[in-house]
Amino acid sequence: MSTETAINIDREKGNFSYDTQYEYDAGIGLNEGVVNYIADVKSEPDWVRKFRLKALKVFWSKPMPTHWATKDLENIHFDKFRYYLSKGQQPSRSWDDVPADVKETFERLGIPEQERAFLAGVEAQFDSEAAYSNMKEELSKEGVIFVGSTEGLKEHPEIFRKYFGKVIPIGDNKFSALNSAVFSGGSFIYVPPGVKVKQPLQAYFRINAENFAQFERTLIIADEGAEVTYMEGCTAPKFETTTLHSAVVELVALKGAKIQYITVQNWSANVFNLVTKRGLAGEDSEIKWIDCNIGSRLTMKYPGVILKGRRARGEVISIALAGDGQHQDTGAKMIHAADETTSNIIAKSISVGQGRSTYRGQVYIPKHLKGCRNNTECDALLINSNSRTDTYPAITVRGNNNSVQHEASVSKVSAEQIFYLMQRGLSEGEAMSLTVNGFINDLVKQFPMEYSVELKRLIDLEMEGSVG
């Protein structure tokens, strides 16, 4: 029943890199020259260059959010990163045309195999640019667009410009501004009215070069009544030096549309992963973020939904596993902006060793709205005596026609549970891993099978190491 061809989220499996020759390299450090270089290499229209330069100014002007977030952010040195690296190739439609070293990378990660097994389309990004991008033919015939962001903004400006930067404006936060200045790669997806894409579309993000910072930009639009599921995975080799991944993802679900966005984040422990993700949900539409964070040194990510249309639904399912030296600072935002909108947040975190998991949430129901509901549950499991968890929700409700409910709990695996399982013959590590898997079981069920099997395996590995 298990498919072993899953995306690899075993930390060690992604830990390799190829000495790759790059045609284009923006050099180390960040300045207007770098931004212009990116715009030049991509031959972008003038409006994009202006957008980028404006964003760079906003980025410089904004302080680091250390007044509420961790001081570890101060260890990010923007002048040490390389902001653009590519071989200058167009994304291939066939794996045969992908350069050998890049192709080998993705084969080791199992991407072509998965594409054959269960995906409707794949985009594989290697540092700044996609090396491969393809989608099943019948979807193109139905008018589905699945291309990189650069191709999207050049080839489909009429749709792209309408929504780009509208869900997450440049100045939303310091890192969204940075992404807006130097973005490259990521996906542009448009699903025409009524088209339901049955199999998931997948993007895979790979950092290959040391000191390389990745800034993909994704925009997904599901037109009226359309449905689409998008999955993203990622890995990077374990380098000595820290690096940065800072994406911006914007989703737009028009009337009656459904978008499901699944992330399994498994960056290596030298990556700062600071991502802004938000969806705009129209009337009767549904946006669901399934977000699983296992890797990285520090992740700060709070997927959100702006519930703009009547009866829109937003959901965030979040799993975080923080091991030694990791800080998973994750959560969700639900901004209600229309009557009878509903939102649901379920977040579960596990802290192992000195790992720290943090939940931050925002639920906002302004005045004059009626019939809005939010339900939030956050549960934290602490494995070792030096593990840490924090919960910081912020809930604002105006008006006597809306209701919210928030519950959070912190617990540990009890000695009696472990004893019971060991009396049935399991080792302490197996007992721990079974219990931890049980803790997140109801959420893991919502992942596609290929992901959930791998999730379980990774947790087994972590738990074996946590008991002693």
Binding site: F419, Y420, L421, Q423, R424, G425, L426, G438
Partner: protein
């Protein structure tokens, strides 16, 4: 010797000595019952044998077919064939019964090998049928939200799936109505055989109407004070534990 042999066992919990020089032999192929009033140390014996860390063995030995079990970890004892049906089984949220029993069976396989899934489910369903457990139970979390009777039946289900050499049933009858009691007893009787020793710990004689023991031991103040055949159970039921108490006091 093919038996669970307990000799001169002294056990302390929270600094208080509960078992005081307890000796007992359960040969393979037999069913023994331990009866005794509340606080006589029956559950302490069960917990100490399977190796709960709160139960400190001060002195004495316990061997299973000649192997010292006090040398083994909790899970080693289990894999060697010792099973406890808990009086109060722990709840494990999110872990389904099917996955749990399979994990326990896999723990008994050579490293890297797993039980065959198809055969496993076939076995599981047939045992569940015998114990009158609905198939839907396989996807429920272990003991979570179970009624008292469901918990006990789930313990017997595990026992019949793991096929241990020695089974200890700690107050398995408590909280069961007669129908449930019969089902549990049927399950236990089905497990009887020459390759298995079963130790039933109970406060009441009632269960022994359905599982007829080969030997009955009366426990009092941390040791076995009287042993006999099944008629001893009726005697206790009729005359109460005070009778044993009086006999004990008289003999001192």
């Amino acid at each position: 010797m093919n038996a669970l042999e307990i000799k001169n066992l002294h056990v302390t919990i929270d600094g208080q000595q509960i078992l005081k020089d307890l000796s007992l032999t359960l040969p393979k192929g037999e069913v023994h019952a331990i009866m005794g009033p509340n606080g006589s140390g029956k559950s302490t014996l069960a917990k100490a044998l399977v190796g709960h860390e709160d139960y400190i063995v001060d002195s004495g030995t316990a061997t299973m077919d000649g192997k010292d079990i006090f040398d083994m970890e909790v899970n080693e004892r289990s894999r060697e064939g010792l099973f406890l049906a808990f009086q109060y089984p722990a709840e494990i949220p999110g872990v389904t019964i099917a996955n749990f029993i399979r994990a326990a069976l896999n723990a008994r396989q050579p490293k890297g090998e797993d039980v065959d899934a198809v055969a496993y489910y076939k076995d599981l369903y047939s045992e569940m049928e015998r114990l009158d457990i609905d198939r839907k139970f396989t996807s429920r979390s272990v003991n979570e939200g179970f009624s008292g009777g469901e918990k006990k039946r789930c313990e017997i289900l595990q026992m019949s799936m793991l096929k241990p050499d020695y089974c200890i049933l700690d107050e398995t009858d408590s909280g069961l109505d007669i129908d449930a009691l019969k089902i549990v007893a049927d399950g236990v009787n089905h497990m009887r055989g020459k390759d298995r020793g079963i130790l039933i710990i109970t406060h009441y004689q009632r269960l022994l109407n359905y599982i007829v023991p080969d030997r009955v031991h009366i426990m009092w103040d941390g040791r076995i004070v009287k042993s006999g055949d099944k008629s001893l159970a009726f005697e206790v039921e009729e005359r109460g534990y005070d009778w044993v108490k009086q006999e004990q006091t008289a003999s001192v």
